[in-house]
Assembly symmetry: C2
Homo-oligomer: 86 residues x 2
């Protein structure tokens, strides 16, 4: 059976560290977990290109077989409703 | 009128940079915008303590007057539903 590609986007900060472990704990032998640190940046800038390609808006973020599964960015509507700029 | 405290939590990565600018663009003269880089860490570790206190689960995240407004972490339910570990 083909391996399931699990890509984790982080920025190497304390908030992301827990998430990487969570994913590793959940992964099984059919899952191939790849972790990208957007701060340390890889030589080929592959991680930045993938983050853009997948539309990563916040970290930690997780893509499974090329599909972004867990990723939520800043919601400006929420910020405005909470008073920002009003 | 009291200033509105707008705290932005980032990790200094490419994903967060845009969000900091978004918040600054939305802010008005009644908003005091403070940016915490969880990667560069401040001397007093105030930023880490605040991130923990507010329950920041992903970055970028924004708190307004001490209330976390925009912040979503990894949803393990979503990950499982997408096949992780199955």
């Amino acid at each position: 059976m083909a391996k399931r590609l699990v890509e984790v986007f982080t920025a190497g900060c304390s908030v992301c560290e827990g998430a990487v472990q969570q994913v590793k704990d959940l992964a099984c032998d059919k899952c191939e977990v790849v972790v990208y640190d957007l701060n340390r940046k890889c030589d080929t800038l592959e991680c930045e290109e993938k983050a853009r390609e997948y539309g990563v808006k916040s970290v930690p973020a997780v893509a499974i077989n090329g599909e972004l599964v867990s990723n939520n960015g800043i919601d400006t509507g929420e910020l405005k409703a909470a008073g920002l700029g009003q």
